[in-house]
Amino acid sequence: MTKVSTSGAVVALEHVSKRYGPTGSPPAVSDLSLTILAGEVCVLVGPSGCGKTTTMKMINRLIEPTSGRITIDGVDVMRQPAVELRRRIGYVIQQVGLFPHLTVAENVAVVPRLLRWPEERVRKRVDELLELVGLDPAGYQSRYPAALSGGERQRVGVARALAADPPVMLMDEPFGAVDPILRDRLQNEFLRLQAKVRKTVVFVTHDVDEAIKMADRIAILQRGGILAQYDTPDQILAHPASEFVDRFVGADRGLKRLSLARVRDLPLLQPVLVRPGEEPAEIRRRLESPEALGFALLVDDENRPIGWIGHAELAGEGPITADAVMPVATLLQPESTLRDALSELLLSSVQLGVVVDEDGMVLGAISVDQISDTLRAAAGKGHGAT
C-alpha cells in the first residue's frame, strides 16, 4: 500500500475547564489536564454527563473552553482561526453526517477542496482513501449515501475524515449506530487502518469494552469532567485507581484483560489442510503425524475454510466432499481479541478456532488450551482476576 499519511501530532490539554452558565454553576469539564502522545489512540470514556464529548469538541473548538489551554504540537488552538484549525483535524460523528446530495467521491473530497488542492491530486487521494477503507473506488465513487449500507457509510465517513491527511482525528462514538457484528468488524478495520496511518486519535465512547479494545491509553472521566485515571488498558484493569474506576470497568476485569490480548499474539497452530476429492485413507495417514491436531480442515481452492473433518467423517470409503464435515465456528481474525475467540471456541464442536486474513483465507488455528494458558499467565501478573 502506498504511504498515505503523515504521522500524528501531540495533543495536550492543560487545566481545561468548561462551564455553561454563570460562574458558580457546576462545570461540564473541570480542570482537565491530559497529554496524548503522537500516533496514539486515546479513548475518552465515562458515564453520561462526564464531559467526554465536550472535551473532544474543545480540541477542534466546536465548543470553546472557559479556561485552560489546548495545544496541538505545542501550538495553542486558540491561535488559529477555528475554521482553519478544523480543516486540519479529522472529525467523525456517530451518525456520520454524509452529505446526501453529494456522491461518495464528492463527500470524501470536501476538505481537500476546501483547502483548494489541485483536482488531479484530489481525485487520486479519493481513490487511495476508498481503497484504504475497503471500498472499491470504481464501484463506489459515484454512488449516493442513500444507496449505501450502514457499514459502508461509516467507512466513507472515516475516509472523508482522513482525506486531507490530518495529524489528529476526533471520533465521537463512530461505531455506536450499527449492530454489534458490524461494529466488531469496523473496529477491527479501524485498528488495521490505524496501524498503517498512525494518527493521533481522540475517541469517545461510553462502552468500556470498546475502550479497552481500541485504546493505546484510556482516560476515564467522572461526572464533571474529572479525570479518574489515565493509563493503558492493561494497567487500568490490573490496578484500578479508585473504587469508581473499579466499578466502571466492571466485575469481570480478568476476563476483560483477556480482551487485551489478540489472536495475533498467539502462535498459530497449523491444521492439516484438505481439499474436496481427497481420499480418506490419505487424510488419516497425515493426521497421524505428531504435530497434527485431532482434526483436519477442509478448504476450497482459495484456501477458504469449509469445515472440520474428524475420525468419524473419515470412516466412510469415498473421497471427501463438502457435506461430510463439522461446521466451523465464526471465523477469527488476527485482530480479534482472545476474549471473543474464547466465546467462539466454546461454541465450536472441535474446540478449535480458524483464523483467516482479510480475504477469508486460512492463516491457522488456535485452541482453547492456548487461551487457558494465557489466562493463567495473566492471573499471575496482576491482582487476582475475578
Binding site: N60, L62, V83, E84, L85, R86, R87, R88, I89, Y91, I93, Q95, V96, G97, L98, F99, P100, H101, L102, T103, V110, V111, L114, Y144, P145, A146, R160, L170
Partner: protein
C-alpha cells in the same frame, strides 16, 4: 361543436393579432408582468428565507407570514395594492404598478415559508459534520444546507411562480392588461368566445409554468436526494407543497 370553431376563428383572426389589444401585446404584458413580479418577489423572499432558515431566528414571523399569505386571497393583494398605488402615484398608479405590487406581495409568503422550513429540516448532523470539517457559515449554507433543502425551496418557488402567472390576469381589473383583459371584456360584452379563448390561453400558460418548474426541480436537485413526495397538506403553517397554492 361549432362553438369551438368560433374559438378557433378567434385565435386565427388577424385582427386579434395587431394593435394594442392584440394577442402578442396582451401575452407580452402577461409574461413580463409575471416574470418581473416573480423576480422581485424572489429578490426579497430568498435572502430573508435563507437568513432566518440558516440562523433559525424568526420562526414566529415565518408562521405569521405564512398564515397571512394563505388567508389573504390573491385578489386581495391586488385589491389592496390598488389604493396604495393610486394613493402614492395618482394617475401613474394605475395599470402595471398596482398589479406589480400585488403580485410581489403574493409571491413572497410561499418562498419565505418553504425556504425557512426546508433549511430547518436539514439534518443537524450535516451541519455539525460540515462545521467540524472546517466550513465557514456561508460555505455551509451554500454547499450543504441549500443543496439538501433544494427540493423544498424549489417547490416554494414553483408554487409562487404558478400563483403569480395564475393571478396575473386579474391585473386587468386594475388596468394592467394581460390576457385577463380579454376575459373582462368578454364578460362585459357577453362574448363567450372571447372569454373562453382567453381562459384557455391563461390555463395553458399556468400549466406550462407548472411543468417548467417541475422540470427545473427534477434537473436541479441532486440525484442523491429523494424528491419531494406528493404528501397531503396537513398542518397549515408548514411547507407549501405544489398544488397547495396553485391558483388564486
Amino acid at each position: 361543436m361549432e362553438f369551438f370553431g368560433e374559438v378557433w376563428t378567434w385565435y386565427t383572426d388577424p385582427a386579434n393579432w395587431s394593435g394594442n389589444d392584440g394577442l402578442p401585446v396582451r401575452l407580452w404584458e402577461h409574461v413580463s408582468l409575471s416574470v418581473v413580479s416573480l423576480l422581485a418577489g424572489l429578490a426579497i423572499a430568498l435572502p430573508v428565507g435563507l437568513y432566518i432558515g440558516h440562523t433559525g431566528r424568526g420562526a414566529r414571523m415565518v408562521v405569521a407570514v405564512s398564515n397571512i399569505g394563505r388567508a389573504v386571497p390573491s385578489l386581495g393583494w391586488l385589491g389592496i395594492a390598488y389604493p396604495i398605488s393610486t394613493g402614492l402615484f395618482q394617475r401613474g398608479g394605475i395599470g402595471f404598478l398596482p398589479a406589480f405590487i400585488g403580485l410581489v406581495a403574493l409571491a413572497i409568503p410561499p418562498v419565505v415559508t418553504n425556504t425557512y422550513t426546508g433549511l430547518q429540516e436539514v439534518d443537524s448532523d450535516l451541519r455539525e459534520a460540515g462545521r467540524g470539517m472546517g466550513m465557514r457559515e456561508l460555505q455551509l449554507l451554500a454547499r450543504v444546507e441549500v443543496p439538501v433543502a433544494l427540493p423544498v425551496i424549489l417547490a416554494g418557488i414553483r408554487v409562487s411562480a404558478v400563483a403569480v402567472v395564475a393571478t396575473a390576469p386579474l391585473a386587468a381589473l386594475v388596468g394592467g392588461g394581460t390576457l385577463g383583459a380579454y376575459i373582462l371584456q368578454g364578460l362585459e360584452l357577453s362574448d363567450e368566445v372571447r372569454v373562453f379563448a382567453a381562459a384557455v390561453l391563461v390555463a395553458l400558460l399556468a400549466i406550462l409554468t407548472e411543468l417548467g418548474f417541475a422540470w427545473i426541480q427534477r434537473s436541479a436537485v441532486s440525484p442523491g436526494l429523494s424528491r419531494l413526495d406528493d404528501a397531503p397538506m396537513t398542518d397549515a403553517s408548514r411547507v407549501a407543497r405544489p398544488g397547495e397554492l396553485g391558483s388564486p
